[in-house]
Symmetry: C2
Subunit: 735 residues, 2 copies
């Protein structure tokens, strides 16, 4: 590969580097790496998990990276025994196994794989009637209360979907259940959505979704070392002290097994939105047939192996661009995570070879292959906690990927990097349509917004998408992958890239059928979108490593913040009106009068009244942010390119850590590990981002003093961001 | 029963009459009449249909009514032979039968019943691949077009629901299908909604929904005599001339049979909203297995027997209050129609006995038991057409009922009778909650409006319902029962009453399981709501027959008309914006770019642009109506009670026919049988009412000259109503 220099003001002026990146990335190599790494079960603690780390270490070194494996010792339970059965007249024992399927050689190599299992459930042996709780989210418990059904002393059975897995047993436990089953309903994840594997891509009747049920919205990572790296001699909590571990036993089951248990339920017919696609009358329960659930785990510590590879920057070695993807799967993990991981390897090979050929990136590039993401973002969290001080001093940006597939670009992250992302997406060509992935995404957003049922937000985004002068939307990040520690604990800017929506990786998610065979047949035939991910993220890494000026466009953040505040105000108004309307209905006994007396029915629990929250401090802060952002952006556009080196260094120092002012040490109420005041995973939604989370959740949960307090704290963080922008503008304008 | 006089200004001042009505109505008698009339299949042309007419004739006479049977000869096809099968490797023949069920003696008396059948389908013998068209409505064909699938030369299979049955084969035919199957999906009408009969109330796997597929939105009644009574010597169209008869063969089938045919389909996976509750992957098709469908009927004329019973008014014998309910069923017809019919008998007995005891209603009361409603509202339509001139001269109000069950009051009709209805509903006590049915309905409307997903209209209605000073809402009437000829052809004011929403008559609708046993067990245990219907409608009849003053409250109509116009303006704006947005997407090739190229996908057909429609004439007319209505209502309230007899007679004459000015002879575009310019069944929605239908459908279907023309015509009708109000006000004010 020819030497190319890559250090001008506009990376797009140097198409050779990116051309070389593109041509160095090979779908066949990506397929080969995935096939190798997905050939055996590779969950945390398995022999192949370690082998994969060592395999990657060898590759990084071969490609010229300074690489090592960083190991942490973490609490990671593995199942010892499991029983799920009904006894009596019609005995039944759940299989809890996934048989091999025809045409998929990998699916037969199940030896050493985890059976049906959710990590960090609480061991136990319980026998109790079952209650069906739909998706097991908060609204479902409100509906149950209206039906006069509760789960105290019962085993809850929830279906997957509409919220993060781990919240289902947690909410069941909070409501008094003594056990929890989670199953994949064919309406959401099975034959209703398409042909089942191996005939089609979708989950077969015996497919099981494993996963973590640690209470990650409290903190992710090793349950015993919150906020600190799980190094060998770290101070550890006891298992009993670790609040993220569930207290009740839980198991995931297939719909093949679930149908038996659901069919035993009696009681009210499930409300319309609760009915899945099994050929039964869904009832809420309780059943009169008790269910026996027993789970026992080995709670010893296990090693996680992070592979860390570095290319030292030529000009600014203490500025780090960090790029990561995990390598551990639940079973074979082809789509999740090895599609993203193989793309990462392709980038690393391309960049490493370019450097070997003489290319000198300005900043340091760190590639990380994380272990232990599946049980709780462990490898990335422990590494981020261990290296927190250095990262806060040096990291320019964290760029993540994970599962990948055929389809549209999906990108989330810090709004001040929206312009940066949009530039990349405009320069990458979609293999299916031959237009840029940005152009294709704009078309998709506009078409969706024209479909029946589109939301107001979707319609507003479509207006932005229709204007080529405006950047493509970038979603707020909640949780669900390894960006979490960087973005939400350290306050670093972070981005997460994937393609998807057309392939069907979801159909075998976290099952033994997520294989190289399945991925190549259904998710990304020809591995072209995995290659495209490498080309996309590789560009992001190279542009971040070599950019002459700070990457933020502050106006995009100001626009986002104003939008978050408008949503928050609307939320408070909506909740206030709902509480007032409900109070009138309760006063007039309207619920009793409207109800069918032959059906169990209760009035809803009274909503606490919602006072008017004082949002003025946030209004002022977002107004000021808008003003400061426009001033900074204009000054950068006008004077950035010609900035003398000393002022450039001062500008760089100010903007390097500007995002961190949004994540002060105080953290979110009740979960101080999460420090970012702009984004967090919802306490009771999981993956999904909540914006202005401290204030928003205080309003949602009627904690008024806390709402007032965090309005001030969040406003102060925004003002600190504006202060920094004003200072940077002064540097740009030579003041 | 004691003599009671009943002629004061306020019927409520004479509680004795209504007390006597209430006590004369017996749930046991209602049960007995239903059991007798539902003991054998009683469809048009069956021996028991005629026996029921004669049974009722005897009862009316016994209770002192002047009664007779009026017979019409109508085209009514009955099935001779039917085949539905797949041949080849996996042959299957649909059963098309409903077996008897345990515990329901009636369900075994199936001899003489119609098999699976839809009346006025077109005979034929076709073999073709199947295409699944979801509910078979217009939107579904748009979705099929997007998927690149059409039904030309195919047999369409549609599920019941989301629109009137008859539109499904009609739209299939319009789109080029050569046959049509309609089945009950368990998601809508089967095990998903509850336990199946006989274990629960819902449709079992072999239950079949019969029904009419005549194109009633064109005209109802005998297909051969539109607009004229089907008397013996009436001029008749030939069968080929009757546009309401379908040209392609069609059959209704059970979900037990449908599963086989649906499982043979290939092609794209059905969109999310198209998936039912059968345990299969719903695909759109076409299937590679051809389906053989053959239907042949006996197309001879059959008699329909209307039972007409009259009590002559003491003071105003040429003012008629007409009350009807049909007596023909599809099989045994217990819930539909004999629940309403038995209530009608209870009213007739009570009123007849009161008259025998000396009570003298002021106006003439006519009770009608219609035949032939199920195949096409035939008995009521032929009678209304035959007696059109007399009805337009004499009829004060037509009051209808049909199927009835446990639950909430559901009342639809002319908006100027809303105050009248609300007064009745406030005086009838709900058996379950012991409050008035109006109070209970208000509570229900308010609770529904507070549930997630409530529409803006529901929320607006809830505000009205929460104000006890305002009348309860009365829905606009489309079609689906015998009020249609009176309201929409003759322009008479009409009301339709039922209770329901809690029992589960829908679960066996139009099947052989709609029996006295099912009704008493699940729909209205104890027959208390059937008795309540009699008490409610009996009050309406008595109050209308004895009222001292006209019943209309014009302000309610003015309010409704203003609301209809606002909806219409919004419709035009929405359609205009949708066309503009779509044009931009087509211009930018957004549909192609957004689509998954591995799936069949086409851009939508271009929507014709929507100009600005000139609504000024309707704006002026509704404004004037509001003004005139308030003037009239105030004058009536102020001066009505003390009006001298000559002016009262002039007032009565003006208001007797005021609603008819809304239904001028010109009729609706393309379907002149429908004359009412305020309400009609939608041309492509069926049962559901369209308000300002001529203008609305012209806008929906992009016929701009027609929209402009009917804005003027509709405005002229409203102005004629206002003229009449002004004249009535002048009489009241002695001018």
């Amino acid at each position: 590969m020819a030497f190319v220099h890559f250090a001008s003001a506009q990376p797009n002026d140097e198409p050779n580097v990116e051309h070389n990146l593109d041509t160095a990335i090979s779908p066949d190599e990506i397929s080969g790496w995935m096939k190798q790494m997905a050939s055996q079960p590779n969950q945390v603690g398995s022999p192949h998990d370690r082998a994969n780390a060592e395999f990657e270490l060898g590759l990084f070194r071969q490609w010229g990276w300074d690489a090592h494996i960083e190991t942490f010792q973490v609490l990671y339970p593995t199942p010892v025994s499991e029983v799920l059965e009904t006894t009596g007249a019609n005995p039944f024992r759940a299989t809890l196994q996934e048989p091999a399927v025809a045409g998929d050689a990998t699916s037969a190599r199940i030896s050493g794989a985890l059976p049906a299992y959710v990590a960090y459930q609480g061991d136990g042996d319980v026998t109790a009637p079952l209650v069906y709780v739909n998706y097991g989210m908060q609204d479902d418990y409100l509906a149950l209360q209206r039906l006069g059904i509760d789960v105290r002393g019962k085993i809850a059975i929830a279906r997957y979907g509409h919220g993060w897995r781990g919240l289902k047993p947690k909410l069941a436990q909070d409501h008094g259940a003594i056990g929890c089953l989670i199953y994949s309903d064919p309406a959401d994840d099975g034959y209703a959505t398409g042909g089942t594997y191996p005939d089609g891509p979708m989950r077969p009747a015996r497919g099981i979704q494993r996963g973590s049920v640690a209470d990650m919205p409290l903190y992710p990572g090793d349950p015993l070392t919150p906020g600190a790296g799980a190094t060998e001699n770290a101070k550890r909590l006891t298992r009993a002290e670790a609040k993220v571990i569930l207290k009740i036993p839980a198991l995931p089951i297939s719909y093949g097994d679930a149908q038996h248990f659901l069919a035993t339920l009696e009681g009210p017919v499930a409300p319309e939105g609760w009915r899945g696609a099994l050929p039964i009358t869904y009832r809420v329960g309780p059943g009169t047939t008790p269910v026996h659930l027993a789970v026992k785990s080995d709670w010893s510590q296990k090693p996680v192996y992070d592979v860390i590879a570095t290319l030292r920057g030529a000009d600014l070695p203490d500025r780090w661009v960090v790029r990561g993807n995990h390598h551990d799967g639940w079973v074979f993990g082809a789509s999740d995570p090895l599609s993203g991981q193989s793309a990462l390897l392709a980038e690393a090979q391309a960049i490493g070879r370019m450097v070997q050929a003489g290319f000198k990136p300005k900043r340091t590039i760190i590639y990380a292959s994380w272990d232990g993401e599946e049980p709780g973002l462990i490898g990335s969290t422990e590494w981020a906690e261990t290296h927190a001080d250095d990262l806060k001093k040096h990291a320019v940006l964290y760029i993540n990927s994970d599962e990948n597939g055929r389809g549209l670009l999906d990108v989330g992250g810090s709004p001040d990097f929206r312009h940066f992302v949009s530039g990349i997406a405009s320069d990458v060509t979609d293999p299916e349509t031959k237009v840029s992935v940005a152009t294709r995404l704009r078309a998709y957003i506009r078409v969706q917004a024209g479909e029946p049922g589109a939301t107001a937000r979707e319609q507003a985004e479509a207006k932005i998408a229709a204007d080529p002068a405006r950047d493509i939307p970038v979603a707020a990040l909640g949780s669900g992958s390894d960006f979490s520690s960087f973005l939400q604990h350290l306050g670093l800017p972070a981005l997460n890239f994937s393609y998807g929506g057309e392939g069907e990786s979801g159909g075998v998610y976290h099952s033994a059928y997520d294989t190289w065979e399945h991925h190549g047949r259904f998710v990304d035939p020809g591995f072209v979108y995995d290659a495209l991910l490498a080309r996309t993220v590789g560009r992001a890494v190279l542009r971040a490593a070599d950019a002459p000026l700070p990457l933020q466009q502050a106006g995009d953040f100001a626009e986002a913040a104003a939008g978050y505040l408008a949503e928050l105000r609307k939320l408070a108004d909506t909740e206030r009106q709902a509480a007032e309307a409900q109070a009138a209905l309760l006063r007039d006994h309207a619920y009793q009068l409207a109800a069918d007396p032959s059906q169990p029915s209760r009035p809803p629990a009274a909503l606490a009244p919602v006072p008017f929250v004082e949002f003025a401090a946030l209004e002022n802060a977002t107004a000021r942010l808008t003003h400061s952002a426009h001033g900074y952006d204009a000054a950068l556009a006008h004077g950035g390119a010609a900035l003398p080196p000393d002022r450039l260094a001062r500008l760089d120092a100010l903007m390097l850590t500007i995002d961190q002012v949004l994540a002060p040490d105080i953290g979110l109420p009740g979960r101080p590990w999460y420090r970012n005041l702009i984004f967090a995973p919802g306490r009771f939604t999981g993956y999904q981002a909540k914006t202005f989370p401290a204030v928003r959740e205080a309003v949602e949960e009627r904690r008024w003093a806390e709402a007032d307090r965090y309005v001030s704290i969040t406003a102060a963080a925004l003002n600190a961001y504006s202060d920094r922008l004003d200072a940077a503008r002064a540097v740009l304008e030579g003041k």
